[in-house]
């Protein structure tokens, strides 16, 4: 899967399933999902599930940190790093 495809998958999921909108301009790739109120108290688990189900990867507990999950850009880099590891 290309980086672009991964990005589209992640963006599509967040827009449709967490922001409930079809307007892509509402989600800048570098915006903090926490600050925008997109992730609720358990929302990050949904993002972990998204990665594990779509990108054939296993996310370790220690990797579930804002540095890897708090924006589209960070999630894309995290997936790319995991794949190349």
């Amino acid at each position: 899967m290309t980086e672009q495809a991964i990005r589209e998958k992640i963006r599509g999921h967040i827009l449709e399933n967490m922001m409930f909108t079809d307007d892509p301009s509402r989600l800048p790739d570098d915006a903090s999902l926490l600050e925008m109120g997109i992730i609720d108290s358990t929302g990050v688990l949904e993002l972990v599930l998204l990665m594990e189900e779509n990108f054939a990867m296993k996310v370790q507990d220690a990797a579930i940190i804002p540095e890897n999950f708090d924006s589209v850009d960070r999630m894309v880099s995290f997936v790319m790093r995991s794949k190349s590891a």
């Binding site: 449709e16 399933n17 409930f20 909108t21 079809d22 926490l34 109120g37 992730i39 609720d40 108290s41 358990t42 929302g43 990050v44 688990l45 949904e46 972990v48 599930l49 507990d61 220690a62 579930i64 940190i65 804002p66 999950f69 708090d70």
Partner: protein
């Protein structure tokens, strides 16, 4: 326990008035199936639907003082009526019945509006003073029994439930957007607001007088109050306070066992309800009849703890097993009773359980409701304590880790991912100096449901500041209270009065003509607990510390030490089977119906429905939004859309 309805003031009586009273009281049949009564005289109409519990033979209502100068209809119980009666008889009053109701009219005759201060009970009262031609409405201190009122057609109308008002005043069937926004944020409308425009809920601990000249005077006769932070505790020692508390709780249970019908109890398996059952046994009920709900899902089920308690106390126990399908099937009926949106399905199993109680031949149940507010049992209080501690040193690497000790019972715990928990709980730390600090995370999560409102309503929601709104409702002295005291006050006034005692309390019990009683909400217990130093209630991160110590001798150790598990039920998942929504859910949430109702954004609701359908809704935010939207659409369908459809059959509306 009963339903009441009526009107006062203004225009001369018409032949229609009796019909109005009969129409109103007919809608409250579920609250009082045993008898019905109406009183009509110039200036006033009173109607009553009775559930006979005390004085089965002569307790009919409306009731007057013997001379016809003071009349009342009343819903609830005056638990100290025997003591008050003895006192009034000493003062020369003659009683014609054995009911608790008659105490009200004589006490009013003697003490005027201050009569209400003498009542220990759970009540909604309408009282007509024929000599002064004034109406008095009064509601109990905690907000256990409901009382609604509205000004229309030159009169003040009142009733136990809104549906009774709408039966006489169909023009009042309009949803109030402010009530909706409040319900989506605080889990219920904030009194006096309701979900219906112009219809007001009398706040707990208040008395409303309608004078002969038409003036309305609202008085607060009681409120939760706390000592200033750091004030010396009025107790000789902790151990002495424990003994005093045990004695007080026993007396509260003893009074609340007063009834001329047998009294049962709910047994959840937690400390509070187990304690009530143990106290009932102490008070002399050898074999208490108990009831509980069980679930398929281990995340919600507490049957092991319930059975441990049943064995320990030797109660005669009945369980009602509740499936997801049961919840979906009964949800529309629930919403007809609540008359307000709900964000959780948890009231449904309690409504089904009250049906089981009724089938078992019982009319009254004691419950443990209120202990978490009075003795600081909720995780929210602990969470606020940790977040306050953390906010003093926001860079601390370990302070937030204390949060890891909370929420262990959740399958998808916010502390299950420590790296994110820190970031999540750090949100709102900037509000550290605001009195409502403790409640910011909850209101933020609930408020996510507002994003689904239709654009014009969303503008209204955006203009609503929940923090400022609740701060405006705090009494001035709250700024001097300990933080825990403020947290408790907010909890008692928002979630408890607005949701737990209403949608998850009175309404689901009365749906099956069952009266719930709440010994922890005896005002003497509340006043006692409020005087306790905060760390006797929340000790470290152990909740309800003093209550545990008071109940310890009566309970098995594993129950007395058990950490609180909140009562919950499966939410959005209840409404889908094999990926298909229940028929009425598909219909009500279809784009056409959403558009017609005009309350929500059809596209967004469609996306949420799809997410829930495929089982993707795991967090509270999505689940609460889904249940909130579905319940609001059911309310709209029941009280607005269908009423419009039948409007031609109702008589033409009058004018003010």
């Amino acid at each position: 326990m009963c339903g009441l309805a009526g009107f006062a003031g203004g225009v001369a009586p018409t032949p229609e008035d009796r019909l109005d009273l009969e129409r109103m009281i007919a809608t409250l049949h579920h609250r009082g199936p045993d008898a019905r009564g109406v009183h009509l005289s110039p200036g006033v109409g009173l109607a009553h639907a009775r559930l006979s519990i005390i004085d089965l033979a002569t307790g009919q209502q409306p009731l007057h003082d013997g001379s016809g100068s003071v009349w009342t209809v009343f819903n609830g119980e005056i638990f100290n009526f025997l003591e008050l009666r003895r006192e009034l008889e000493r003062d020369g009053y003659t009683f014609r019945t054995s009911s608790d109701t008659e105490v009200i009219v004589h006490l009013y005759h003697r003490d005027g509006d201050r009569f209400v201060e003498r009542l220990n009970g759970q009540f909604a009262i309408a009282l007509w003073d024929a000599r002064r031609r004034r109406l008095v409405l009064a509601r109990d201190r905690a907000g256990i029994r409901p009382l609604y009122h509205v000004r229309a057609r030159g009169r003040l109308w009142f009733a136990s439930e809104v549906k009774a008002l709408l039966a006489a005043l169909p023009e009042c069937a309009r949803l109030d957007p402010d009530g909706l926004v409040q319900a989506f944020t605080f889990w219920g409308p904030s009194d006096p607001d309701t979900l219906f425009e112009g219809v007001r809920s009398l706040p707990p601990g208040h008395l409303l007088a309608l004078e002969a000249d038409g003036r309305e005077i609202l008085t607060r006769y009681w409120d939760w109050d706390f000592p200033d932070a750091g004030a010396a505790a009025p107790f000789a020692s902790f151990d002495e306070a424990v003994e005093d508390l045990r004695g007080l709780l026993l007396d509260a249970v003893r009074l609340q066992l007063r009834a001329d019908v047998p009294v049962g109890a709910y047994l959840s398996g937690g400390l509070d309800s187990s304690g009530i059952v143990a106290l009932a046994r102490q008070a002399g009920i050898a074999s208490v009849r108990t009831f509980s709900v069980t679930f398929d899902d281990a995340e919600f089920d507490e049957r092991e703890q319930q059975q441990a308690m049943v064995r320990h106390l030797g109660t005669a126990h009945t369980t009602l097993h509740c499936t997801r399908r049961d919840i979906a099937d009964a949800f529309p009926a629930l919403v007809r009773h609540t008359e307000a949106p709900v964000l959780r399905t948890a009231p449904v199993p309690l409504m089904l359980l009250s049906g089981e109680v009724r089938r078992s031949g019982y009319k009254v149940v004691l419950t443990g409701e209120g202990a978490d507010e009075v003795f600081a049992g909720y995780d929210l209080f602990k969470e606020a304590k940790v977040r306050r501690f953390w906010a003093r040193q926001p860079d601390s690497a370990w302070r937030h880790l204390l949060l890891g000790r909370l929420y262990g019972y959740l399958a998808n715990s916010p502390v299950g991912t420590p790296g994110f928990a820190r970031a999540f709980f750090a949100q709102g730390l900037e509000h550290i100096d605001r009195p409502v600090f403790s409640h910011v995370p909850r209101w933020t999560t609930s408020g996510r449901a507002l994003a689904f409102l239709a654009p014009e309503l969303q503008a209204r929601a955006a203009a609503f500041d929940p923090l400022a709104f609740q701060e405006g409702r705090l009494p001035p002295q709250a700024s001097r209270w300990a933080p825990l005291a403020r947290d408790q006050y907010l909890e008692a006034k928002s979630l408890m009065a607005g949701y737990l005692l209403s949608s998850q309390g009175d309404r689901v019990a009365m749906a099956n003509s069952i009266e719930g009683r709440f010994p922890f909400l005896d005002h003497r217990v509340i006043e006692f607990a409020n005087r306790l130093p905060p760390h006797w209630k929340l000790r470290g991160l152990t909740e309800k510390h003093i209550l545990r110590r008071a109940l310890e001798p009566l309970l098995p150790p594993e129950i007395a030490r058990r950490t609180k598990q909140p009562y919950r039920a499966p939410d959005a998942s209840s409404f889908f089977e094999h990926g298909r929504p229940a028929d009425y859910v598909a219909e009500l949430l279809s784009p056409g119906r959403i558009r017609d109702a005009g309350l929500f954004d059809p596209a967004r609701v469609g996306m949420l429905l799809e997410k829930c359908r495929r089982g993707g809704a795991t967090g509270f935010g999505d689940n609460q939004a889904f249940v909130g939207i579905l319940s609001t659409m059911l309310l709209h369908d029941t009280f607005i859309r269908r009423r419009d459809a039948t409007a031609p059959e109702l008589r033409a509306t009058g004018t003010e």
